[in-house]
Subunit: 411 residues, 2 copies
Amino acid sequence: MRLDVDKERLVTTMEEQAAIGATDGGGLHRLTLSDEDKAIRDWLRDEMEGLGLDVRVDAFGNMFGRREGTEDLPTVLVGSHMDSQPYGGIYDGQLGVVAALELVRCLEREGIETEHPIEVVNWTNEEGSRYQPAMQGSGVWAGVHDIDEQYDQTDENGARFEDELERIGYKGDVPAEPTEEYEAYLELHIEQGPYLEEGGHDVGVVTGVVGFTWGAITFYGEADHTGPTPMEYRRDALVPAADVITQIRRIPGTLGERTVGSTGYIDAGPNSINVIPGEVTFTWGFRDPSDEVVEEAYQRVLAEAEAAAEREGVEWEHEERMRAPSVEFADQCVEAVAGAADDAGYDSRYIFSGAGHDATHMTSLMDTGMVFAVSDDGKSHNEAEHTSWEDCHAAVTTTVNAAYDLATEEP
Amino acid sequence: MRLDVDKERLVTTMEEQAAIGATDGGGLHRLTLSDEDKAIRDWLRDEMEGLGLDVRVDAFGNMFGRREGTEDLPTVLVGSHMDSQPYGGIYDGQLGVVAALELVRCLEREGIETEHPIEVVNWTNEEGSRYQPAMQGSGVWAGVHDIDEQYDQTDENGARFEDELERIGYKGDVPAEPTEEYEAYLELHIEQGPYLEEGGHDVGVVTGVVGFTWGAITFYGEADHTGPTPMEYRRDALVPAADVITQIRRIPGTLGERTVGSTGYIDAGPNSINVIPGEVTFTWGFRDPSDEVVEEAYQRVLAEAEAAAEREGVEWEHEERMRAPSVEFADQCVEAVAGAADDAGYDSRYIFSGAGHDATHMTSLMDTGMVFAVSDDGKSHNEAEHTSWEDCHAAVTTTVNAAYDLATEEP
């Protein structure tokens, strides 16, 4: 049978969660471990307990709500993340956690028991903005990151991750690692790109995630007066940074059809109109479905930085902060999603994810799949991020039924 | 006769003033209208009153200490500025104000009266870092800037200039304009460049100041997720900024032997590793002894910005914040300085100033001249700024005697 998701209730729930950390521009400013994050976690706990779920919080703040199955079978895990980018959108990963709640609501309403247990999950710090790396909570849980090292991460004000987690009261007792056997993980997320909308599709059946590299480069020059210092005496740290940033724009076009590259962050010091910048830090990021292409892009940006530093006579250093290999999703999950979309009469397309998600870490532990919701104009990570309630409903319906499929044994 | 400057007293005075707003790195962090600025102004007032000067503070915070002359003749004005760059050096303009105090000390010690009155001056906000424009106090006094507009300037935290001036108690009663007749203005400043040291000279006889243009450019793109947004969909505001910054490095070399160009300041938003920058502001600055070259540089940077905006498909705007024509100093001042250096046995050279100084504004009102002190390694606007006490003494001695020459009528 197909589970019907109540569209009005879905909208109400989305609006409720969007009110916590809402911005004037219609977006969301709910950084990990902030007071807004605490508030949404409290809200989520209430929702889960209200649905009769057994709630646990692990030592890294990942939240789970468990619904027992009728058989001693591995658990189907469904969820995403509730934290947001600075002045981000209200849909991002939030729709995915709400979809997991909707799954349980549908089952409760219909009085259905599934053979496999089901767990709703909210991962800590998926966004990687206030603290890095991104997908931090799922990464620790999957054993990719060492929990003590992650506890020691500090934000730009020097606040320690563990201290902040304790501050908001979400450093749980349960070890931050799988404490159950898992059948599969399913995550709904907005596409954050233009392909579904462009093609007039209702929902995306995600087949995998690109690989990527991120990091930071710092050039060390010499701060000096912009006026009387002749050009040949300068060691301007901003000029080589600008050189590399223009190359970051250019490198993708030389590598692949799907390759993307960007600089999202730059900081120059002392940042005064009359002073030659003495120290500049900026970030690189490259993504592609091919791991070889990602490695090539990484090597090229370092080569450009070396050349730029040489040219200007400055020192430099770099730090790769994130490298993730590309992943392909498991057949049973891709088929469950495609089947759920077809059964509901939706126009779907297969699509590769250009963004990393918590699902990326899950692939090393269990069969994993994702569903994409349409993103209007492909906008994301800003307040203009938008998915129509119609498209939200299509994506949530697909997710709920795909998860139901995975949690049910054929008779 | 030649006035002898007591070197030990000079060093003591320099060390006293350097203690107010001292940084751990041996520099000075004494931004205009800060508490440190208030403290140094109070110190200066005490020094001036202690020397029997008649102290007045004008409506823009410019401080004057007057020593009457024996004749009804125009006043010789000597001084510079006590404010500093963020984490700047202890010599910059501070040496020039101390030189003016030393002039009065020498005259008092020798019991000398001059025909012309003499005034010591400390100009408000020469640095133009916290508030713009630079040379703000002397500019208002010279009628170049409208005082009410300048009162309304805000710093990056939104604090209004006039409010801050009142906060530190230096919004004086006297109108911020010449209330005396002036014979000449003489200013000692560190060279901030490498030429005097390179040539092994003791002191610089400044013949003029370069012309310059400064301003800011803002590119408006669209913030979006760095991952799933294909390259051809991007409107990245940082890429055109980087393009223009690399051109700013390049334009001077195509224009003149003395042309310099820089970007001192850049700000990208939202400045998050995973988000394409949607708005970027950065500054340009070009200087050259030729006004035609300055205009050419200005036109070129705008042309580069236009091309970069077109290429990336972003909007842009610009604002020129400062344009100053190059100036030549008056013969009587240049000769007074050269003569003072020769009489004291110093090895001097004629030199053009690459930096704007309060003297720049004085040229429209009276005969103006400057003295340069040697800058070690040409370093300035950072904590490594340094002039040996020997070279300080040479420059102060030259300044004191040049001013004495200007203040004295031949018998």
